[in-house]
Subunit: 251 residues, 2 copies
Amino acid sequence: MRLLLVEDDERVAAALVAVLGRHGFQVRHARSGHEALDALVPDGNEPYRVVLLDLGLPDRDGFEVCSRIRAGSGVPVIMVTARADIRSRIHGLNLGADDYVTKPYDMGELLARIHAVARRGTAPTAVAVSAPDTVPQQRGPLESRGIRIDRERRRVSVDGRDVPLTRKEFDLLALLAQSPGVVYRREQIFSEVWRSGWEGNGRTLEVHIGSLRNKLALPGLVEAVRGVGYRLIPDSPAPAPEPAPPAPAER
Amino acid sequence: MRLLLVEDDERVAAALVAVLGRHGFQVRHARSGHEALDALVPDGNEPYRVVLLDLGLPDRDGFEVCSRIRAGSGVPVIMVTARADIRSRIHGLNLGADDYVTKPYDMGELLARIHAVARRGTAPTAVAVSAPDTVPQQRGPLESRGIRIDRERRRVSVDGRDVPLTRKEFDLLALLAQSPGVVYRREQIFSEVWRSGWEGNGRTLEVHIGSLRNKLALPGLVEAVRGVGYRLIPDSPAPAPEPAPPAPAER
DNA sequence: AGCCGATCTGAGCGGAACTTGAGGATCACG
DNA sequence: CGTGATCCTCAAGTTCCGCTCAGATCGGCT
């Protein structure tokens, strides 16, 4: 059974490779998110049954790696990380991870969890991972429709013009911009931008959406989806992953 | 989305039912392992998408309940328990549980984990106990007869032409498209698309079906099955395994 | 403490979405 | 071929939901 380990710490990786090997896994070790995404491109070999993803990667955000994996494949992903806070957990799981394990973990439990997601299997994927960078996903600063979002500096600019945003406004925009076009449900927004379990009582969300719209001054960018939530309208009319050749993967 | 909650503490259960209900789950509450196993017997209704299993049950060991569930069904099981020791965790996961959450847990995280296992869907495994249409929730856009349904983006296109749908219309279509050819009974549709067991009094369903048909402009796609409900006609073969007699399993 | 920006809440408005009812069309069945 | 049940369509109501504004509250900073 093939397993993809994404981990930049050589010592940790070596230990995991050894243990997993003893338990019957054939482990491929990727040292960066880039290498991991490369490794997942179907190449005729037996596909990976599980991805073990460490979030503390050097080259790019581990969350981003996860959503890119998820954009192209249904392979089960287990996030393994030292970040134990609730927000990160929820965020990781909402990005499509199948499990989220915090360090330090018990090796036996990790193995059990690997088996749990592996036996459930790879989800069917209609998305063909053809051309690598045709999917306009976040790389470094997010960029879409002239908006540049710098997560590290928490700065946003529209057509070069700097737009000062408050905390909530920024978090809101950063969340929506993560996958332009995708509808984020209200509960999901609350659980990611506000403390979890918070039920929005008043008109809080609408007010923040309103001020965000005002400051960005890009009419039509933030769209309300009645009864569901909000989404960003991507510039390119190419909204969704390819209709894809109806070629079924089987046989 | 139906969810089976197995919990003997009434207060805990009530709280969970409330929160889960607000998040769009139709919750069935079983107070014992016996009741849970009963509830999981396929009865023609929409199958449960997730089981939330508390291990502290009075009548029998929660672990046993889990393995019995697993013996007859591929439904995802999340164990929720105060037993945090490693041995129990590993034991639970090895018995077939898909996740293991210890009390006290964060509600937001629990919700995220529920969604994580639900989106992965019911395992194809199962002992095929005459559970015909437990089609796992598909990842990626559904596609059939030139209709592309993107659940994430809540967008529908017919032959590339974008078709804006309202909430009910979209939910309705997404439900029917889940298993083209399968007849969805009226009560089933109401319980999925209109949450909180509300029986349609007027001509509500017909009107929404009507406007859906208008917008899609694909004559013959949505078929009414007199006295029963509706279904989508798949392009390819006509699988007519539907006995569709007046379902006697009604309670 | 006092200030000031950020966040939250409540009320009112307008429009979209949903529901209802009636009449006509269609179907199953005798 | 008649009849009742079921479904479809149209045209109203009615409810729900998002937007905005204005004021209250929170929280960090000096």
